[in-house]
Symmetry: C4
Subunit: 253 residues, 4 copies
């Protein structure tokens, strides 16, 4: 097994060429992962490639029928329709186990994006602020100041002081290393407590993303999760018992 | 010293060819290790190969006469008898010291298995549930859904929700990477508290394994350990003193 | 991306040749970083080269207009003037994420220094003493005992017992590995509590450095920071509330 | 800089050929380091080689005159005299920063030993037992059971149950990997609390070593340290104040 392994699921890569990719890997509040996993299902995206890596945790996942599989990141494709342009998605179980591995993996994703003709990358994630946020803002960071007006018009906030500490992991690296590949990059980070999986923040990020890529997908599933979260929190507050713990990811599915 | 070193203890590798391997390395509750170490002794298995590695901890072990040896994993062979088919065992002191090393070592074990003609791998381990379990279930995860009926018939439980978090380390990797080598794989994980070396859980795993490989070995030693554990726990409960601490492995031998 | 990447910002490297380099990377109390970042601004130093590395944390930084950039170390140049000799500066966001990476990065900096004709390296840093120090001493360590008189004359303290534990990271490695490159080296470490970003200690280090390199730069900015720190501490003592926490680096800019 | 660097301090390596090496690197209670550092001074041993490594901590040491140096391990030689056979010593500041690095460094030391004709290696260290020991035993572990009688006759204890957990780091690896180089190996571990630098335990180890290598060196320095330690401990017990803390290594010199 190589350090990074790409397995293609389509015969004709060029037929899945697409200028726009959206990445949502696990991270703070799973904000980005919730959005991308939701869109892949809502748009019936097709799997194009799978990345496995010795830089991922040595933790095997159960799929249906209790069949074990390697931890993986996946590339999905949605063709152009009346409602939206063609889109690629990067989704997955995990990020690197080491600091240096983050660079290696981001480069691997970008090489796949290069083969697929990607010219712009959106990275979705969360920005932990340490308290519950009812109406989360969506902070943005860019590969170039030329993109500033576009993201502000879509409802994101541009503030060089935020996120404090910058952006850690793939959500940041795909923007900075992507620029070296000639790609535009826009990071969208939803404010979130940092303690919970946060579909409310994901909904705010999805709002901005939809305006940017001219997409309108059914969002029943994500809205249901968000409503359930608000109900849970209200109940928790009423009973003075703490909220659902952060590692309870059971409703990601 | 290479990163992984295999030393053969037999001249004719092909004479020890065997379609079935059973792996039980140290892990949660030492459930898998207890079973495999027990079977190696009960069946008088013969050592076929030894793996040492710079990915193992730099901790040297004392053998009899206080002779020091490297930490190691070992492959043992039992020929076919009236009571069972031929079997290979993977046993050892330790697993990798790094996440990436788990992948490297699993690949090394599988290359040895390839040379020995292995077509099916059983991996044995524990699943920590955080409380004492009197009648542990044995959870199974598979390389293919085709194996489902067979393991259920042998008494294992198939539930894609369990173990929560999947399987970490060699017990999982030998199944997923083994599939890439064309091997069938069945993981058997006995429920265990996670706090103690647990021969009771090991006995439950052995029950399932014996049905799967049509084996019936003397199990006096393992039963004695399990009975002693139950007696110790009853005494600990009576005296309100905590049970034997988890790192006391002195009765593994 | 290579493990270490050097990007030159000038066409003619030899035109920026300079015998003296001053390094101030992040470390205890950010003492060295404050001095070097201050001098780069005060002397309007010109950027000569940028070092990025997979050994840096995978944390992307926001620059103005919320454009994301890789973590980096930078080399700046100031030509000779009436007030001082020509100078090079090594500044940056971070140091290595691994012990071995510290050696790799120090070697990379020294190769750049070799190309720029550097013959002497000053490294600036802090020495944490665990209590507030009103009048910090500046401890020095050397590449050769020949340099002893010079640094004592400039106001530094030479004591082989201090800093206890020696010097960790680039401030030490640039001296010891630099000697293998034929460079003289002088480390200047300002005493500091270790709990706060400490412009007071930086001012003491700058005093010694200015005498050694015959430099006199405007230091309004650094003095303002130091005065603000003393005011903050006095206020904190008066209100019995703890001082500004150590990770509040917001006034570094 | 290579991962491991050997610099020879003698022109004629073969003139320093010697069948016996004694290794005492930092470890539990600095028991082995105290003995070897003491013998190097007491016997006026000559430096033969120096090992530096990127696997050592990036921590630079101050020598006299505040000159900085890399962390290092050193090989010293003492020629044959009326009082003893010729001896080599391995001494130094540190061990590896990573588990895998321990294997790499042990192999590097053994390659140097090969060049110097070493046939037997003694490794000295401490065995932490978690309580103060007035009359420490010296436990031994071996490369071969043939050596058993010899070490027992010299006053060491052979017990396959001790040290519990085996031997970690160079003191163990030089024995196990040394056997692959055709060298005999004897580890001598003095019982020690594990909380303090322990010259009392070192004295016990030196007693056994001297019988094994037929050496009788002045031990005033080590005895003085041991007496001071006993006095300190008695005073600490009397004042009910804790003993000298474990990281106070100031009297190692």
């Amino acid at each position: 097994m190589e350090q990074v392994n790409v397995r293609w699921y389509v015969e004709d890569v060029s037929a899945h060429s697409c200028p726009v990719a959206v990445a949502g890997l696990p991270g703070v509040g799973h904000v980005g992962k919730l959005v991308v996993d939701h869109l892949i299902r809502a748009l019936s995206a097709v799997k194009v490639a799978e990345i496995t890596s010795t830089l991922f945790p040595p933790q095997m996942y159960l799929s249906e029928d209790s069949v074990l599989r390697l931890p993986r990141n996946e590339i999905f494709f949605v063709p152009e329709t009346e409602n939206h342009q063609p889109l690629l998605f990067l989704a997955g179980d995990c990020q690197s186990t080491t600091p240096e591995g983050h660079y290696t993996l981001a480069e691997a994703y970008l090489r796949v994006f290069d083969l697929l003709g990607v010219k712009r990358v959106y990275t979705l994630g969360g920005y932990g602020v340490g308290r519950m946020i009812e109406h989360p803002r969506v902070l943005s960071a860019l590969s170039s100041s030329k993109l500033k007006e576009e993201v502000i018009a879509a409802g994101a906030v541009i503030n060089p002081e935020e996120p404090v500490g910058g952006i850690i992991g793939a959500a940041g690296l795909l923007i900075t290393l992507g620029r070296l590949h000639g790609m535009e990059g826009i990071a969208l980070l939803g404010e979130t407590s940092g303690y919970l999986v946060d579909p409310v923040s994901s909904t705010a990020v999805l709002d901005v993303l939809e305006r940017l890529v001219h997409l309108h997908a059914d969002r029943t599933e994500l809205t249901d999760l968000a409503e359930q979260m608000m109900t849970d929190l209200a109940a928790a507050a009423a009973s003075a018992v703490g909220p659902r713990p952060p590692d309870d990811l059971s409703y990601i599915g």
